[in-house]
Subunit: 359 residues, 2 copies
């Protein structure tokens, strides 16, 4: 039925749809719904501690025996220098003044954790069928432990060079993350956001460059996009933004309302929320400070300085300082259950593929 | 045979492939090869005077009776202020010094002409089957004269808002120009380059927003991209960069060599060559002055100040100051005849479409 079965075979899933892990925006409920529907649900772990990961994966295992994915960040955490932190606080000073926030009380603690021994031990304990990484791969020693559990390992490439590196360094399939994608870009061998390629251009070039199955990500939100991804050489897709509209999504009502109002030209790639480039809906802090600010301290600390502004602004009903993550195809989103969305996407894609051949 | 025949019917062509008009990079020879192969050849007229247009279209008519397209820019030419010109000259001063160029002798004359009465009279004389515009549409009076000749009118949308405007203002089909596309972006109702959408996201949103046939552009360079465009709702494609590799392309050997060496991550959108955003291969002037410079005077004058630098650098064998236009899929390009390329693209796309349905 599908033009390419390599990903289905590799991950032991029925539908070639991976629900993108979205740290802070999805937990076990979405994973269960997607995996039960036949796709691959993904639990984002970058903002969870071990107890929470254990609890969430426990719930998943109670509700489904289908494969699921645990996702981790594997950045090298860089502490900001005092100068960087001071420059960032100074940049945000007018906002602190406006909201009556004491800048000296603002934390700089990172909220996103890089894959480490404790997380690896948890993977060895839980033994998920799939583990995906963002920002490259962890150290060889940690990766070897993950692979020894039998887990299939995925990671994202935003360039052909990334893709080749991931293939040479132990990935089992590669997510080609196009410029359209929402949330953090998986960039790890490059820093130049302006040279990042759109999915239409990136995907066939990655497919030509590697032997591994390629998963398309970025700008895909309905059956048309899935059919297009197969046309370009993908063996499956990873979809994020469309799942933010489902009842299983943990986003605020404010984020949900912003997504419902989104159009094609309302997102940009910004570093103001974390220090690394990520795509979200344009709001006040992006307009005033970004989208790419040289003052933003290195990932993942930039966001901590925005936290008190975000909290106060949200109380007054605005997302002026909130990371409203979104890809460029939010306008195609629908308010339906994550399981139904998965099934609908697959059936639309399947119909579309038949239509294309004049059937 | 094709999943959507609307563009074929509208333009009276056999293959759903439009060769993108590339000012300075193609003339009648490419138009003839593409139109004879069954696609739509396009003659870029923005850098031609009436005599040259008459000569080129005369040659086309001698060699083929197939439909072809005449393409015009319809920007509002804005003369730079003295301050703008001075700021730009100052920005380029180190390069002038390096090459021993007298900045006071640098011209600021525009080399690209907006569609006007004289060009319109030429269209009335030549009566091409198709006329396409870039940067919106000309005045209602000029557009009415063009349409009265029976020509089908096309223009590019880089946003859904653009697309709706073009539909309401008299276009017969809309080119959805994704972020991946090489050369000038057709932006006319927006200035925010950072919010421009990739083809994968833009195309289905434009297809949902308008009733007219939609032509996909940006990142398409082989049969996979054409099949993907149909999957996303297009009725055809416009392809530029792939045609730069053909013997009918008028680009320099230097540009050709740069394209052959291109990879997915080697282009950016820059305004340094004309004042308007356009995608090209990253070179020294883009790196040092751009990619988007606030000092670049308004379109189309920015490039004149680079002309003497370009000339001297090219003599010494470098494209440091040359606009090396390219989309993000240059790596998929092949050195073959433009007619053969057109036929191959169509046959690859057709095979791909059948493959997708498991045939």
């Amino acid at each position: 039925m599908w033009p390419n079965h390599r990903l289905l075979d590799l991950l032991q899933i029925d539908l070639p749809i991976i629900q993108a892990p979205m740290a802070g925006a999805n937990g076990s409920a979405m994973v269960i719904a997607v995996s039960e529907a036949g796709g691959l649900g993904s639990l984002p772990c970058a903002m969870l501690d071990e107890d929470k990961m254990r609890a969430e994966t426990g719930v998943i295992r109670q509700q489904t025996d289908r494969p699921f994915n645990m996702n981790f960040f594997c950045h090298t955490a860089v502490a900001p220098t005092d100068e960087q932190q001071a420059a960032w606080t100074a940049r945000l000073a007018p906002f602190y003044a406006e909201y009556g926030i004491d800048p000296s009380a603002v934390a700089s603690a990172p909220v996103r954790r890089a894959f480490d021994d404790g997380m690896c031990a948890l993977v060895e304990e839980v033994r998920p069928k799939v583990v995906s990484f963002h920002f490259g791969l962890p150290s060889g020693a940690l990766l070897a432990r993950v692979k020894k559990t039998g887990a299939r390992v995925l990671s994202s490439a935003t360039t052909v060079v990334d893709a080749r590196w991931l293939e040479e360094n132990g990935c089992d399939a590669i997510i080609a993350q196009g410029y359209e994608a929402g949330g953090h870009r998986g960039m790890f061998l490059t820093r130049d956001v302006t040279a990042q390629a759109g999915t239409m251009a990136l995907l066939p070039q990655v497919a030509d460059a590697v032997k591994l199955p390629v998963i398309a990500a970025g700008g895909i939100a309905d059956g048309r996009g899935i059919a297009a991804a197969f046309a370009l050489g993908a063996a499956g897709v990873q979809i994020g933004t469309a799942y933010l509209f489902t009842p299983q999504s943990l986003i605020t009502d404010l984020h949900r309302a912003a997504l419902r109002a989104a159009t094609d030209d309302k997102t940009v790639i910004t570093n103001v929320f974390s220090g690394k480039p990520a795509r979200g809906l344009i709001n006040r802090v992006i307009r005033d400070v970004g989208p790419m600010s040289e003052d933003a301290p290195p990932f993942p600390t930039a966001g901590a300085a925005l936290a008190p502004l975000k909290a106060k602004a949200e109380i007054s009903g605005t997302g002026d300082f909130t990371s409203l993550w979104s890809g460029q195809a939010a306008a195609l989103g629908r308010d339906i259950d994550a399981g139904d969305l998965t099934r609908n996407l697959a059936s639309e894609a399947s119909q579309r593929l038949r239509l294309l051949a004049g059937l």
